[in-house]
């Protein structure tokens, strides 16, 4: 109802603006109205240009003041720190350029607003100037490209080392599953053709003729040991999905018919990050919002919302159908000891199909 009212108000505002301009137009003395800007228009719009410059700065500052806390949450992976560095350097360059160029553009539009009888400067070319603003971006970009490529290679080079934990992330409409390689450290072969074997107990289609697969562990909750490299092998059984873990600065598409890879080292356990000031503040803020929303729900006779506890996110980030917005799996980052304890309690594939 409130929304309908808002809409009605908006429409009324629009109509009144329209009417006001009409009155404004009619009330003006019938001077020569050619619909070409005259000195009054130039003066007025020139000033508006200057005001608009201030508006751009204001909305920038306001957004940072009001919403700055939601930007890039703390990085919880080793390469995340490198990523954040590059991001802030790029941001600094962007803000510097944005501030200066918008100022020049709008200030010139204000300063050189037209007047009858004034003549513009005939100024068509200056090779020196143009060389300058070609070379400056070249230098800035060369730096960014080199730094970017160095980081990219570093992140994307997945080295198979014995120490790493190999995890398969398996996507389907509309949930995730994870498969651990088990004691042999090798994932058994798998294909969607085997999904219906063993009365549907073969959740990710492990090939039962491959001995490497028997000790594999398939679970619906993703546990990761802190401080150890995790190599993700991604698969999808139906359409494209994308595994996006913003806190770890990690993302890779899951593509039916092929296995994609991404590796990172998680550094902060779930318990640890819940104790950081940032997360505490965020959880507090969110719970305040949820309490408020709950009151509305209770008033309507519906159930209240659960209080929020922080967990790392794994989001599907490639449009995949109706419930794309709601593909959930819990991520738990824990100490290697806790991880070992957890995984020892899970059933292997051999046990499941017995």
């Amino acid at each position: 109802m409130t929304i309908l009212l808002t809409l009605v108000v908006l429409v009324l505002v629009a109509i009144s603006i329209w009417q006001i301009t009409k009155i404004f137009e009619l009330s003006q003395p019938k001077k020569e109205n050619t619909q070409v800007a005259d000195d009054d228009d130039n003066r007025w719009n020139g000033k508006m240009m200057f005001a608009f410059l201030i508006f751009i700065y204001a909305i920038t500052l306001f957004s940072f003041w009001k919403w700055g806390d939601v930007l890039l949450p703390e990085a919880s992976s080793e390469h995340g720190l490198e990523y954040d560095n590059l991001m802030w350097i790029s941001f600094a360059i962007i803000f510097f350029t944005q501030t200066i160029t918008q100022a020049l553009l709008h200030y010139f539009a204000y300063k050189y607003r037209g007047e009858k009888g004034k003549k513009a400067l005939f100024y068509a070319d200056n090779d020196r100037l143009e060389a300058i603003w070609t070379i400056i971006p070249v230098i800035a970009l060369a730096g960014l490209i080199l730094y970017g490529l160095y980081t990219w290679t570093d992140i994307m080079t997945v080295e198979e080392n014995d120490d790493a934990l190999v995890v398969e992330l398996y996507a389907q409409q509309f949930n995730w599953k994870a498969r651990y390689a088990g004691e042999d450290g090798v994932l058994g072969d798998a294909n969607v053709r085997f999904l219906q074997d063993f009365d549907g107990k073969n959740l990710v289609g492990i090939d039962a003729t491959d001995p490497n697969g028997f000790d594999d562990i398939v679970v619906q909750e993703l546990h990761l040991p802190a401080g150890r490299e995790v190599i993700f092998k991604m698969r999808s059984q139906d359409v494209l999905h994308s595994a996006y873990m913003p806190h770890f600065r990690a993302q890779m598409n899951c593509v039916p018919g092929m296995i994609t890879e991404f590796a990172f080292v998680p550094t902060i356990t779930t318990e640890e990050i819940r104790q950081t000031e940032d997360i505490k503040a965020k959880v507090k803020k969110i719970n305040a919002i949820r309490r408020e929303n709950s009151q509305e729900l209770i008033a309507k006779g519906e159930e209240a919302l659960d209080p929020y506890v922080f967990d790392y996110l794994l989001l599907c980030n490639k449009i995949c159908g109706a419930s794309h917005y709601n593909m959930q799996i819990k991520i738990v980052v824990e100490t290697p000891k806790e991880f070992q304890k957890w995984i020892d309690n899970q059933q292997t594939f051999a046990e499941v199909i017995q």
């Binding site: 553009l105 400067l121 005939f122 159908g321």
Partner: protein, 597 residues
């Protein structure tokens, strides 16, 4: 040679084109000016649909799952109890993207102004082939009708995102929109591409062959350079999308496996073997990225012309402007992979595409700085068209700069497909190109309809739109950096995002106001066609040839001979001349030197 052809054309033209019936004049017209109006009006109509859709899904995002009367009123059974269905949400974002990118900003923008301005500004009586031009428009019209029709099929229109990645788009089991809706989408786009190719070939041939005497390539107005290069990019890249669409049709209907492999869906293993969705992504983005420039370059061309005319100054660095158009066009065909950094393709390719992508920033920076320098020490006539052009430069910079982040494969990892991307491309190509369209309409309205649009309504339209455009897209960067993925029906499934809800409300309110502001434009546009003030022949005191043609339209553009060209298009405020403009057809005075540009 161009002279000979022009003369030939001239003689030919005196032969026919005189007997015009209602149908040949207004419907199956071969006159480029009428076709241009047809493109504009069809484009605006599609624009209304596209923008209305965006307002609907913005309402859903701001107040998710709250019953709204407007939803049930407009969506009927697709919004049971006034709450939009998730599949409908996806369909709306898909069709919004498709309509805005292709039907409004490609056909509506480039189709309108290439058709209007190429013959008039180069001094030709019409396009090289009036017949092809007419067919091009009617194919566009048919594809628009099919696209609109697809909104009404039982299971809903295509809903796999405007990029329609398979397998989602290939399998009706995957979502309802991938049935008949997707078939219609593909058919509509195939026809659209045919239309676009016919149009582009015509533009290229016309620019190369029908320039009037004295109109050398280095005297072409920048508008024509932009339209010309846009047409070249279109001819190079659109056929690749056509091939992708055809292969997808084969996969959908004839059991081939170009893009599909190893799929299990709805309890069934499908027969597809050996294809790859990544191949589709390559084919799609080989058009998809140049498409950004197909949309943007005409807007930049229009802006160059309007900023020079209204600054009463030559465009600064004409040669650099042409060179940067060429550089952008070339680079645009070798950067498509930056949409695919995390698609699973070889990371080495990511490095190559990062390199080529960031290079595009260089010609773009040159363009931005040249616009700013053109304003410097000008005598700015702040007409509505000029305001939109300055606005374009502003959003082009704001949106373009964040491209440095998205074009960098490393940084893309964490912002890929989030609202950061949505904010970036809406500013840099959506809003910028839309401003280009508005600027063009305000500026050439007198040429098209012989009347002027109301300037005060134009000012109102610009300022409300300009404020709302930043109001919508600036905060969007923040929710993107917070990690919120795009194409989410609601953000309530993850309580982590609860603190972004109020930002979404702010965005939606600005979007609604912006939507209302477009009604001002629409009113002004329609009202002025019939009741606008009659125009003088050259209201903006511009140099280009179109303003030497009579106000009243007739097929052939000029009575008598086509004017000859003696100078470039930017002799504004040239010392030694009484007036602050010297049109292109005025011969050089004795002792006057033409600028070495």
């Amino acid at each position: 040679m161009s002279t000979a052809v022009a003369q030939l054309h001239e003689e030919e033209d005196h032969g026919h084109h005189h007997k015009e019936t209602f149908i040949t004049k207004y419907i199956f017209s071969q006159d480029h000016k009428m076709i241009s109006k047809q493109y504009l009006i069809t484009g605006l109509f599609m624009g209304i649909i596209g923008i209305a859709m965006s307002l609907l899904f913005r309402l859903q995002l701001a107040w998710p799952e709250q019953p709204m009367g407007i939803m049930s009123a407009l969506l009927g059974k697709w919004a049971p109890d006034g709450v939009m269905d998730p599949n409908v949400y996806l369909a709306l974002v898909t069709i919004h993207g498709t309509i805005m990118v292709f039907f409004v900003l490609t056909a509506g923008l480039s189709g309108t102004f290439s058709n209007l301005l190429i013959p008039l500004q180069i001094g030709a009586r019409d396009m090289a082939s009036g017949l092809l031009n007419m067919i091009s428009y009617w194919l566009f019209f048919i594809s628009s009708v099919i696209m609109v029709f697809s909104l009404f099929v039982e299971a809903g229109p295509a809903a796999a995102g405007w990029t329609i990645y398979p397998p989602l788009s290939a399998l009706p089991q995957a979502q309802p929109g991938s049935g008949l809706g997707m078939t219609l989408w593909l058919v509509s786009m195939a026809i659209f591409i045919a239309s676009s190719l016919l149009g582009s070939l015509n533009y290229i041939v016309t620019v190369l062959n029908l320039r009037t005497k004295g109109m050398t390539m280095s005297r072409l107005p920048l508008t024509i350079w932009a339209f010309f290069i846009t047409a070249v990019i279109g001819v190079v890249s659109f056929p690749v999308l056509l091939s992708a669409a055809l292969l997808l049709i084969m996969d959908r209907s004839f059991g081939t496996s170009f893009f599909l492999s190893d799929i299990f869906i709805q309890g069934e293993v499908l027969h597809y073997q050996g294809g790859s969705p990544v191949l589709y992504e390559h084919l799609f983005w080989f058009l998809g990225h140049p498409e950004v420039y197909i949309v943007l370059l005409p807007a930049l061309g229009i802006t160059s012309e309007i900023i020079a005319t209204n600054s009463r100054k030559p465009i600064f660095g004409y040669r650099a402007m042409v060179a940067s158009i060429l550089a952008i066009a070339f680079l645009s065909t070798i950067v498509w992979g930056h949409h695919m950094f995390i698609s699973g393709m070889n990371p080495f390719l990511g490095s190559v595409f990062t390199f080529t992508t960031l290079l595009i920033a260089i010609p773009s920076a040159v363009k931005a700085f040249n616009y700013i320098t053109t304003l410097w020490k000008g005598n700015l006539q702040l007409n509505p068209a000029m305001l939109f052009s300055i606005g374009l430069v502003s959003t082009f910079i704001s949106g373009g700069l964040t491209g440095i982040i998205l074009g960098d494969s490393t940084l893309d990892i964490n912002v890929h497909d989030t609202y950061f991307v949505v904010a970036h491309f809406h500013l840099v190509m959506g809003i910028s190109a839309l401003y280009g369209l508005f600027a063009g309409v305000y500026h050439w309205f007198p040429k098209m309809f012989g009347r002027m649009m109301n300037k005060n309504l134009g000012y109102l339209h610009f300022w409300v739109t300009a404020i709302c455009a930043y109001g919508v897209f600036f905060p969007m960067h923040f929710i993107g950096m917070a990690g919120l993925p795009r194409r989410y029906y609601t953000n309530t499934a993850f309580p982590y995002f609860d603190d972004l809800a109020n930002i979404n409300v702010v965005i939606t309110v600005f979007a609604l106001i912006a939507g209302v502001a477009q009604l001002v434009f629409l009113y002004n546009f329609i009202h002025s066609i019939f009741y606008g003030r009659l125009t003088e022949q050259n209201p903006w005191r511009s140099n280009t040839l179109e303003w030497t043609a009579p106000i009243k339209h007739f097929h052939g553009n000029w009575e008598g001979k086509i004017p000859e060209v003696h100078r470039w298009a930017y002799d504004y405020s040239k010392p030694g001349h009484e007036e602050d403009f010297v049109p292109q057809h005025i011969p050089l005075k004795e002792g006057e030197e033409e600028l070495q540009h």
